[in-house]
C-alpha cells in the first residue's frame, strides 16, 4: 500500500488535473480540473447529469467508472492506482447519495470491521472494544441518534433520513482526512438537516478537506463553503466564493448548460 506523504505547503490536498472518465461508452467527465487545499470546504454544484455523482465514484474507485486521461491525487498520492479500500485507508470517505443496506450485519459490527481494516492497512493497532463503544456512544449522541439503531442490521429498513445520518455517523467514526458528501441533503427534513450539518461542521479542521456535492443551495446555508464550483457537461465551468451559490439559486443553471 502506498504510504501517505505530507503535503508541501503550496500543493492542494486534493488535486484533479484534466480528468476524463467514462461509464461504458459514454464519456462523462471531460477534462475536469479542481484543487482543494487542506482546511477548505469546496462545493460542487451543477445541473442533473453534469457528472457530479460520477466525480464522487471516480475518486473513490467504483468499478465500471473508467478514467481515460488526467490525474487525481490526494496528499500527493495517485488515487487512481489504488483499490477502493486502499483509498479509504488513505483517508478518503464518501457519504453516499443512496446508502446501501447490509442485511444481517449490525451497523456497529460493520463499522468496527471497516475501521479495523483501515487501521490495519495503515499499520495501526486494532481499536479495543471499549474504546470503540465509547467513541460510538459519543458520536451517536452528537448526531442525536438512538444508540439501539446501531445494533440493527446496517441501514435495513431505515428511512432516507436515517440512512443519511448513518453516513455522517460513519464519517465521524472514521475521522477521514478528505470527505466527499454526495447530495447529503436529499431526504432530510429541516431538523435533520441541521443536526447533520452540525455533525459535518464539527469535522472541519485545518488538516482536513471536504467536497460537498449538491444540487441545491440550501445545504450551503448550513455548511458554509470556502469555494463554489459549477460542474456542467463534465467540466468545471465557473468558480467563485459562497456568493456564487446564491446566484445559482436565483438564476438556475441555464447559463452554464448553454455554455457547455
Amino acid at each position: 500500500m502506498t504510504q501517505m506523504t505530507r503535503p508541501d505547503s503550496t500543493a492542494a490536498m486534493l488535486s484533479l488535473r484534466g480528468l476524463h472518465a467514462r461509464v461504458g461508452d459514454r464519456e462523462i467527465l471531460k477534462g475536469l480540473d479542481l484543487q482543494v487545499p487542506s482546511g477548505e470546504v469546496h462545493a460542487i454544484m451543477g445541473p442533473n447529469g453534469a457528472g457530479k455523482s460520477t466525480l464522487s465514484y471516480v475518486l473513490t474507485g467504483r468499478p465500471g467508472y473508467e478514467v481515460t486521461a488526467g490525474s487525481a491525487e490526494l496528499d500527493g498520492v495517485n488515487l487512481l492506482e489504488l483499490e477502493p479500500d486502499e483509498r479509504a485507508a488513505n483517508g478518503l470517505f464518501l457519504s453516499f447519495q443512496y446508502p446501501l443496506e447490509i442485511p444481517g450485519v449490525p451497523a456497529l459490527t460493520f463499522i468496527r470491521s471497516a475501521l479495523n481494516a483501515q487501521r490495519k492497512a495503515r499499520g495501526e493497532a486494532e481499536i479495543s472494544a471499549p474504546d470503540f463503544l465509547k467513541r460510538a456512544r459519543s458520536c451517536a449522541a452528537d448526531l442525536k441518534m438512538d444508540f439501539d439503531m446501531l445494533k440493527r442490521p446496517m441501514n435495513v429498513g431505515f428511512s432516507g433520513g436515517e440512512k443519511k445520518r448513518m453516513e455522517i455517523f460513519q464519517m465521524a467514526m472514521f475521522a477521514p482526512r478528505f470527505m466527499i458528501l454526495d447530495e447529503t441533503d436529499s431526504g432530510l427534513d429541516i431538523d435533520a438537516l441541521k443536526v447533520v450539518s452540525e455533525g459535518v461542521n464539527a469535522l472541519r479542521a485545518p488538516d482536513r478537506g471536504m467536497l460537498v456535492i449538491t444540487h441545491y443551495q440550501r445545504l450551503l446555508d448550513h455548511i458554509r463553503p470556502d469555494r463554489v464550483h459549477v460542474l456542467a457537461d463534465g467540466r468545471i465551468v465557473a468558480s467563485g466564493g459562497p456568493e456564487l451559490a446564491l446566484e445559482l439559486e436565483r438564476h438556475g443553471y441555464d447559463k452554464y448548460a448553454r455554455a457547455a
Partner: protein
Amino acid sequence: MPAVKDTLEQVAGLEKYEHGFVTEVEQEFAPRGLDRDTVAFISRKKDEPDWMLAWRLEAFERWSAMESPDWARVSFPPIDYQDATYYAAPKAKDGPASLDDVDPEILKTYEKLGIPLREQEVLAGVTGAPRYAVDAVFDSVSVVTTFKKELAEAGVIFCSMSEAVREHPELVRKYLGSVVPVTDNFFACLNSAVFSDGSFVYVPPGVRCPMELSTYFRINAAGSGQFERTLIIADKGSFVSYLEGCTAPMRDENQLHAAVVELVALEDAEIKYSTVQNWYPGDPETGKGGIYNFVTKRADCRGDRSRVSWTQVETGSAITWKYPSCVLRGRESVGEFYSIAITNGRQQADTGTKMIHLGEGTRSRIISKGISAGRSSNTYRGLVSAHPKARGARNFTQCDSLLIGKSCAAHTVPYIEARNGACTFEHEATTTRLSEDQLFYARQRGLSEEEAVQLLVNGFVREVLQELPMEFAVEAQKLVAISLEGSVG
C-alpha cells in the same frame, strides 16, 4: 468439530483446500470389489457376533437388487462399485487401548487438523473453555475415543460403533435400523451391508450429557470409500449435543462417502446434532476428484415432547446429496433444521430436509441458506408433510439463496403435503445476487474485497450460525470465508 486452531492461521500460505494432505501410515485393506465375502471380511475384522453378520448379509442381498436413484439435481458418471475398497484401516493389534497404541503418524494427522485427542491437553486449556469428547474415525475404524471414563461416570455411553456391537448388543439390536430401515434407499442399504465404523451414543434417562460429543471423520486411503454408521439414543428426559466434522486428502479420483446417521429421542429428550462438512470438493477448475457425499440422516422423535435439531454447514464435497430429516412421531415433538450449504468451483449440492409430522401438535422449523459461487449448482429440496393424525401441526420454512458471480445456479424444490385440515405451513423463499453496489459500499469503508464478501455472506447466514455451539460457530464462520475465497472478480 473443535476449533482449537485458528483455521485462518492453518491455511496461511495454503490456498483453497487446507486439509488435502495424505498421512503415510501402514494400512490394511479389504480386497477390491464387493460381494458376500467382502461383507464377511469386514464383519470378521470387527470381531462381530453372528447376528450382526446376518444383518449385513441380508442388507447386501437387498442392495444387489436395487438401482442407484437418479432424481436429484446432480450429475456424475456411473459408479463402479466393484472398483473400490470397502475396508481400510491403519494396522494395529486389537484396536488401541490407549493413545500410546495409536500410530504417531495418525496422532500427527489429528494434531494438524486441530483435533485434540489428548484429554490432558484439553483440560490444560483456558479455564472455562468448553470441553468436548472426541471419537476419531480414520478411514474405516475408530482410532480413539476420549473422555470415556468421565462420560461413563455420568452413565453416558460414547464409543465406536464396532465396540457398541460387541459391548452393548441389546441397545444396538433394539435401535439399529429402526430409524433408517435397511432398504430405505440405495445408499443406506449399501451402508448397512458394509458399514465400517462411526459413533454410538446412549444417554440414560434424565441425564444431561456433561460435555459436547464430537466425531471427526477422516478419509485417508486412496480408492476407498467411507461408510460410517452413527447411532444416537437420548433416553427419556435426557439431553445431548453432538458435533461432526469431516475432511479428506486431495485426490484426483472421486471417493464415495455413504454414511447413515440415526437419532432416537424418547419422551422429553433433546438432541442437537451439528455438522461441519468439509470433504475435499474436487479441483475448482476441472471438477476432477472430490468426495461424493451421499448420506442418509434421520431422527425419530419417538417420545412425546421430544426435540431434535439438525444444524449443518456444508462447504465441501464434489457432490452433496443429503436430507437430514425428522419423523415427528411423539405428540408435541419438535424438529428443526438449520442449514448453510455453500458451493463453489464445480461443486453440486442437492440438500434439504424432510419434516414428517405424524403426531398431534408437532412443530418444525426450517431455515436454509444456500450460497452458490463459481460454476456450481445448489439445490434446496425439502418435504413438509402432515399425516391425518397430525392435527395442529405447524411448520415454518425459510429458504434463501445467494448467488455470487454469473455462472452458478440455485434451485429451490419444496414439497408440501397436508393430509389434514388443521395444520399450518408457512413457506418463504428468496433468491438474491451478491450486489456489486453492496460490495463497493463496504470497500469504500475500507474492507478489502474478500473481507467485504465475508462480511456480506456472514450477514446472510447469521441466523443459522447462531444455532451452532459457540466455538463451532467461529470455526464455521471462517470456513464459510475460506470456501468462498476467489469467488469474486
